[in-house]
Every structure is written in C-alpha cells, then in structure tokens.
Symmetry: none
Subunit: 210 residues, 4 copies
C-alpha cells in the first residue's frame, strides 16, 4: 500500500531534482541554468518541462515539502503564541527552547532544501518567503507587546526594535544553516542566541510614551 507522495518512483525526476538542488545551492535560483541541470542529469532541457511546469516548478519540486513542514510548524507555534502575552517570555524558557529545537529539527531534516528556500530562492516565486515569515512573526510579536503594554501605563510597543529583533531572529536561523552542517552544533548555537533574543525582547519591546 503506497501513499500518493511516493507513487512517483521516477528515477529521472529524482535525478533532475538532485541536480537542481546542487545547482540552486551553488548559484542560487536566478543564476542557475536549466541547461546545466538537465545536462548534469543526462537529459535535454525539454525533459525538465515534462516533469515540471517551468523553472519555478522545478524549484517547487525541490523545496515544496520542506516549505510545507516549515510553514506547518510556524503556523502551529504562532497560533499558540498570539494567545499569550509578553510576560510569558520571563517565565517559560522551556517553551522557546522547545520551539527552537523543533525548528532546528525541521530545518536539519531537509537541510539543503531549507537553505535553498531561505537563502537562495531570490528571483523565484518563493523569493519573498523570508519577508513573509518576518511579517508573520512581526505581527505576532507586536500584538503580544501591545497586549502587554495595555497593562503598563505610560508604555507602548517599540515597533522599530521589535521589527529588528524579528529580523535578527530569522537571520540567526539562516546564519545557523550557513555555518553548521551538524544538527547538534546547530542546537548548541541556537540556544544562547534565543536567550539573548528573549533578553532583547524584554528590554526593548516597550518604550516610554513621549
């Protein structure tokens, strides 16, 4: 009994995906050459268009599963989070460790694909993914900060700092991918980083009204 995803036991398609992965990783989507990918796979460019709609489609073939699992995790976590407020940061360290751990796992389960998706997809239809993720986190964090500010007279959310901290957070994961191939090293790296970020949120999330 075979599920739908594994139905395509197609060798050439997989080879194409493999070569595409390599090329995208090396040169990034925009500078990657379909010709080269096809040639590396021992086929003609036309063959690519049998298996995929176009260049974007090929990229999709490479990263779509990785994208799905990433988004699923993000949605899960940030749905939970929005219901809480910033004060949780001070209490529940474990939560963040847990999330970071899950995220690292998801990333390292599909290391190359995630790297392509988050760091080499410029020029493709997935090019804006990092900005999207940042926007999603941004919204969550700002909402939380505002809820927290509501009970702190004379304070309001410091959107500028929050936005930057979000950037730093997301970039930290990309940094991690670019510096550590090993999952355990990555874990060891990301934990103090998250601690540091939490301190940042606590310190800079709110500013005095003026």
């Amino acid at each position: 009994m075979m599920n739908e995803k594994n139905k395509d036991n197609n060798e050439s398609r997989e080879k194409l995906i493999g070569c595409a992965k390599k090329e995208f990783l090396e040169k990034g989507f925009a500078k990657a050459s379909l010709r080269k990918i096809a040639a590396d796979a021992g086929m003609t460019t036309g063959a690519v268009y049998f298996f995929f709609k176009d260049k974007d489609g090929l990229l999709g073939g490479v990263i779509s599963e990785a994208l799905d699992s990433l988004m699923k995790l993000l949605d899960k976590h940030f749905a939970e989070d929005t219901e809480s407020d910033l004060s949780v940061y001070q209490q529940q360290d474990g939560d963040h460790d847990e999330f970071a751990e899950e995220l690292v796992n998801v990333i390292y389960d599909n290391f190359d694909e995630m790297t392509i998706l988050l760091d080499r997809s410029a020029g493709s239809k997935y090019g804006g993914i990092v900005e999207q993720i940042i926007a999603k986190l941004d919204y969550t964090y700002i909402t939380m900060a505002e809820r927290y500010a509501a009970v702190m007279p004379g304070k309001h959310a410091n959107k500028v700092m929050l936005h930057w901290l979000t950037h730093v957070q997301v970039d930290a994961f990309i940094h991690m991918m670019n510096h550590f191939t090993d999952r355990q090293e990555a874990m060891r790296f990301i934990k103090p980083v998250m601690d540091y970020l939490i301190k940042g949120w606590i310190t800079y999330a709110l500013e005095d009204d003026t």
Copy 2:
C-alpha cells in the same frame, strides 16, 4: 591646484555614474542593465567602456569613494581597538557611541553608494565586501576576547557567538539603511542596538573551558 575629488571632472562620466547609481539601487548589480544605464545617461553602451573597464568598473566608479571612506573609518577604529581589550566595553560606553555615530555619518554622507555597496553588489567583484568587513571585525573581536580570556582562568573566547554577534552588528547597519532614510532616525535606532550588542559581547564573548 586640483583636489582629489575633482580629478575626474568629466561630465559624461559623472552622468553615467549618476544613472548607474539609480539602476544599481533599484535592481542590484546583477540585474542592472548597462544598456539602460547608458540610455538614461543619453549615451550608448560603448561609452561605458570608454570610461570604465567593464560592469564591475562602473560599479567601482559609483562606490569607490564611499568604499574608501568606509574602510578608512573601519581601519582607524579597529586598529585602535585591537590594542585594547574587552574590558573597555564595560567602561567606555562613549567610545561605542562615538564610533557608531561616525559610522552613521559616513554612511549617510554617501547613502546611495553605501546601500549599493553593502546591499546590492551581489554578483560583482564587491559582492563579498560584507563578508570581508565581517572577517575584519571578527578578527578584532576575537583577538580582544582572547586577550581578555588570557587573564580569566578557565575561560576562552566563544568564537561562534562572537562571529554571530559580528554578523548581527553589520546586518544592523544594513537594516538601518533599508529602514531609515533620515540620519537622525537612524541614530536613534542604532544606539539601543549597539547597547544591546555590547551586552551580548559581555555576556557571550567568553565561555568555560570544557
């Protein structure tokens, strides 16, 4: 008596540089079209090759001065710094404010050029500039940390965190350029960021030997 800046008092050259600046800013080096640049300047592509060696050369024409002044500032500061040790971070806050201020000034004196250089030069021979700067700072910070660690038994420099913090610092300036056109706003943004980074260095620069 001709000063350095007016060495090239050529009108067409300047116009070409002006139009290139616009195009590079908009599309980034790789996607910028020489044809369009030349056309915007009221010339043909050939003209570009009279004034500049090639596309990289044109980019050089646009950003070289900015690059020089940036590097001069960096060299100056990081030459001084290397002679000190990490303990200065705790004492001389003013120093960092001063440096950040100088850096912001240098950047905002040549805002467009710096933006191109640091954020839109991918694909050119300046493409690695950010990495280079990071490497330079990295070396300085690690040296400082190691000197500091030398007098702290049971501790050594935490290269991984230092490297990441350097990344964050450099990215913070790029973030600043992408979010604030106004110099004063930029100043207001960068100061707490630097404070936060200093806390980071103090906290994470050293780790226990294991």
Copy 3:
C-alpha cells in the same frame, strides 16, 4: 450489423476527437496544442499517435465526415450546374434557394467541424480547402459563363469578376458561420446575400470584347 458511423466505436478515440474539436475551434490548428488536447481527454500525447498518424491526422478525425458531406453536396450541385448555362440564373431562383438551403443545412449539421475546416485549418494539410472549393466553383461558373457567351456575339466571360464573386460567395458562408449560431438566422441572412450575388453574376459575368 454495424453501420458506417459506428465503425470506430472507440471511446478514447471519440473523447480525443471531442477535445481536439474544442481546442481547434478556440485556437485554430496551428496554435492548438496536442499536449492540451490529450490532457483534456485524460490521456497523454502518445495516445494521439496511437489513434492518429499525426496532428493532421487528428484534424482529419475531427473534420473528415464533415468534409465528405460538404464535398458530396458540392459535387452534386456543381455537376448538375455545369450542364446548364448562365441563363438558368434568371429563371430558376428556386434552385439557388434550394442549394443555399441544403448547404446551410449541411453546414449547421456539423457546425463546429465546418468552422474548423473552413476557418481554422490554416497550417494543416486541409489549409487550402477554401481555395480548392473556390477553384471548383470558379471552374463551374466560368464554364457556364463561356457557354453563355458563345451565343452572345461580342461578349466573353469576365473571369476576373467571376472569380471575385466566387470568393465573395464562399466568404459569405464563412461570414455566416462566424456570425450566426442559429440555423434559421443563418438562412435569413444567406438568402438576400445569394440574391445579391446572382445579380452580380448577371451583371458582371460577361464583358465586351475589346
């Protein structure tokens, strides 16, 4: 006992033909995509080549019956006609009405196929069908006019005008197909058109010798 029409009672073949009809109608033969046709029919391109020799063959499958009945009608009428002479035009209005009516019926019995055949087959081996029909009518009309001229001293057939009128006649039917989906409306349109054409033949079929 199987009649001719059900000779190919193949389901897939019929489905292919149906989808091809749609695609040819929409885009014309040249721009029609075999891939799309096959996909619409729930098959792959290869299947097309099982049932048909090539793209032309598929078009044949779509329009051959329509072509046959059209040609049969044309042959029948223009075989009869050649034996008469132009004088019939003045006497037997009914004949033309009758022919036009039969033609409209044949066309509207296979509306889509006729439209493809006569108006969307450019690029295929049937691309010249309209020219062929015109040539056939042309021959008939000129023959008739010459026979008529034989008894009219100082006159000869005006081939140029006859040829043009033939064009107008054929185009009128195509015009009809492109403007009227309804058989009755088509009838109402084509009758005055035929009247007008007959006046044209009477007036311009012969010219003075010079």
Copy 4:
C-alpha cells in the same frame, strides 16, 4: 537639409527590413523566423534587437509608414462621409471612384507592406487592424443608414447586411492585392466592384420594420 525620417541611412537596418518583408510576406508574421531573417541579412538574431525592440517592433519597422498613410486616408474620407447621408450614394458616383482611386494608389505605393499589414500580420500587435478598419467603416455606414432611415417611415437600418457589405468591401481590397500586382489592373478591377457594392448598399441598407 535632411528630415528626421531619412536620417537613418543605415544599411543593415534597411537590409533587415528588406529580409523581414520577404519573410513576413511568405510566411506571415506568426510563422516568420527572426533567425532566418537575421541570417538572410547576414547578421545574428541579436542584431535585430539592436535595431528593433522585438518581433512586433521589426514588423513596425516594415509597415509603420504604410499604416500611417492608410489610416490618414481612411480618417480623411470617413470624417467627410459621416456628415453626409446615404442618398449621396445615388448621386455622387465620382466621390467613390475618387476614394477608391486614392486608396488603390496608397496601397500600391507600398504594396508589400500593405499586403503584410492587411493579410499577414496575424499574431502581431497589428493583427486586429482589418477588424478595426471594418469597425470604423461599419460605424460610418450604419450611422449614415440610420440618418437616411429617419426620413423613411417604416424603415430601419439593416445592420446585418451593412456589416456584411463592409466585410465584402474590405475583403475586396485584400483580394485585389492578392490578385493584381499591377496598379492599373487593380484600378480596372476595383471600379466595378465598388459599383456593385453601391448597388448593394442602396438595395439592402434599409429593411422594413416588423
């Protein structure tokens, strides 16, 4: 003293236009190959893009002057016409002769270009030109007929026949181009055609109210 249009005494551009003219004439715009055109002109495809924006632009280079003079004539004539009413058809035969003559002259002054424009431009941005012309004439003729009908109780414009007659008229000119290379022969052909059409308008422009 050289006017702007003749400033480009460019040999290659003209050669490219010449070869394009030939190819468009033979195969029509859609099936014409830029490669072949360039090769025939002894250049590479890239050269085409130096002189023209794209394939449409090349077609523009071939037919734009012809198009201008055609449109100018049409505008001139149909601006005049709209002010008159259908009754003029019965009186001023000369007018139509004059118009037809002018039109034939304009067409035969740029024979190849007009043929391409009106009969081989399908697939290009000029592809709808014949429809546009028909629409323009249609509007004029229907307006005229309606004005005429206003003074004829129990009558109204027969839009269906008028539209068809417009088609026939426009097609007649295209027919002319496809059958007569010689301007005088074309003239001799088009005159009785116009007479015939005028009779058609008179007879069928109005129909009884029902």
